[in-house]
């Protein structure tokens, strides 16, 4: 049986709905058919809510027919990383600790915003356990597989979100990012992942890993789709203590204004310290050439030393995640996967002064990166040293030999986006662009210009494994 085609992008679906060329029910059935065909191999979903999706699609269809259009996303399917609450569905965090009986009684704020926009929830997606474990942990549900090569790492922790979007099951999925967990699945599966500014998108109703480092945001196939999602998600939320009192941005009107006259700072030293593969280095060089050809000035900038970022970042993540999980780790350690338990346990080593010093260093590093932005509009750097590793080569120890290159911007809270920028051995490569706080619109504008000048985002996984 032929595999149903990829679902359309948010922009394509929205345009087709506007002209009557498709319906919410048709979009939902297409998504469900594709999920049915690919899920046995890719295992992206923990909970597939087909009946609920069909009912929501029918309601959207009736509203659209009655002229009650809520917005451009009305009637388009989406999915949630299974740490987001959706009323009536289980929130498992991919863990036996919460389990399938942990039914949400309310929507997360982000879920509510997407539902109010009329989107159709397809279900809940696989994650690394509590957004901290690894892809080979023995858990109650299988790990999501890389849509390009199922034998390779899907990226994490929003692994199911990356897989569902990259494989064309859904046009948009929500992820969370504490050290790179939205961006890395996007990087390793050739899609777009945006970690917004800390405080830009609500964390309320999302299972926490590290209060001060957790960010929520979308994974999409295109930059325009990312902008469309952000237009709905960027709302001040009084239920999130970290939510910033900043007016909602306009992510779409200047999206196609290009990069002419902008200055991009290439953090070359940051990249060199990351020991990039030759293919990743070549992709970066080509990205710089493309941005220059588009009219941007690309100059070298110097970021603070990675070891300073790492010391502050991991002290905070270890301490906060251990504080959240310590009771369960003491009473029911057998319910955790080995990787999750060991990584969270590192928080037992953090002293009070460590934690305070890390937060003080965070103040300094945030100011130092803000200072770099006085000389450029965005920072360009590699998000990973290369393409997705084979699963057998993934570092599943408690102490990772190389920390994610994405994590410094969780510490400083700056928005960061990863977009496709090449291929290596049939697997995607990406670049990372970082913006000033709350300047997601400019970041999306630069990303869109790059995307439209290249063809990487048009490639699709081979599906020869399907």
């Amino acid at each position: 049986m032929a595999v149903p085609t990829h679902v359309p992008s948010l922009a394509e679906a929205s345009a087709a709905l506007a002209t009557g060329a498709t319906t919410p029910t048709a979009l939902t059935e297409q998504a469900l058919a594709r999920i049915a065909a690919l899920e046995p191999t890719l295992t992206a979903f923990i909970t597939l809510a087909a009946d609920r999706a069909r009912a929501a699609a029918a309601q959207a269809e009736a509203e659209l027919k009655a002229g009650q259009k809520r917005g451009p996303l009305h009637g388009i399917p989406y999915a949630l990383k299974d740490i987001y609450d959706a009323k009536g569905l289980p929130t498992t965090a991919h863990s036996r600790v919460l389990g399938i009986d942990n039914i949400a009684t309310e929507d997360a704020t982000t879920t509510r915003l997407l539902e109010e926009a009329g989107m159709v929830l397809l279900g809940k997606l696989a994650t690394h356990e509590f957004a901290r474990g690894g892809p080979t942990d023995k858990l109650a549900w299988p790990a999501a597989k890389n849509a390009w090569k199922p034998t390779h790492f899907a990226g994490g922790s929003s692994s199911g979100s990356g897989t569902a979007v990259a494989s064309g099951m859904v046009a948009m999925a929500m992820g969370s990012d504490t050290g790179g967990s939205i961006r890395l699945p996007a990087v390793f599966q050739g899609i777009v992942g945006l970690k917004p500014t800390y405080g830009r998108v609500s964390r309320h109703g999302v299972v926490p890993l590290s209060f001060g480092m957790d960010h929520t945001g979308p994974l999409t196939r295109t930059v325009e789709d990312c902008a469309m999602a952000m237009q709905v998600l960027s709302v001040h939320d009084p239920l999130d203590p970290g939510s910033a009192q900043v007016p909602t941005g306009d992510y779409l009107s200047a999206l196609k204004d290009g990069v002419k006259g902008l200055t991009i700072g290439h953090a070359k030293g940051f990249d060199e310290a990351a020991a990039m593969t030759p293919d990743q280095a070549a992709a970066m060089a080509e990205a710089i050439r493309v941005l220059r050809d588009l009219g941007a000035t690309v100059k070298e900038v110097t970021l603070p030393a990675m070891k300073r970022f790492e010391a502050a970042t991991w002290t905070i993540i270890h301490a906060e995640s251990f504080a959240i999980h310590q009771e369960h780790l003491r009473k029911t350690p057998e319910l955790y996967g080995r990787v999750t338990a060991e990584r969270i346990a590192l928080g037992a080593f953090v002293t009070g002064p460590h934690y305070v010093q890390a937060q003080r260093l965070r103040t300094l590093l945030t100011a130092e990166v803000d200072e770099v932005f006085k000389g450029c509009d965005a920072i360009l750097c590699a998000p990973a040293s290369g393409a997705a590793p084979a699963l057998v080569d993934v570092d599943e120890g408690p102490w990772r030999k190389q920390q994610p290159l994405t994590a410094p911007f969780n510490l400083t809270g700056h928005p960061a986006i990863c977009i496709p920028a090449g291929f290596s051995g049939g697997l995607p490569l990406s670049i990372q662009l970082v913006g000033r706080a709350f300047e997601e619109a400019l970041l999306l504008r630069i990303s869109h210009a790059f995307e439209q000048a290249t063809e990487w985002h048009t490639r699709r996984p081979p599906e020869s494994w399907a």
Partner: protein, 63 residues
């Protein structure tokens, strides 16, 4: 440098935290602890006394 004090500290911290590991994971976790000690040496570097811990939103009231 690896030493007995480090291992004793490691054991004490796990005891205080109330957690334990299977015996075969002990060397891996001890090695992780030693890596941790190396990483946080950065936190001992002097900072100006008035530097306060970051606080949300946007870590220090930038906006």
């Amino acid at each position: 440098m690896q030493n007995d004090t480090e291992e004793a500290d490691f054991q004490a911290l796990l005891r205080i935290a109330g957690i334990s590991f299977a015996p075969d994971r002990y060397p891996v976790m001890l090695d992780a602890y030693r890596n941790w000690l190396e990483l946080v040496k950065v936190l001992d570097e002097p900072m100006p006394m008035p530097v306060e811990p970051a606080a949300a939103p946007r870590f220090g009231g930038a906006k």
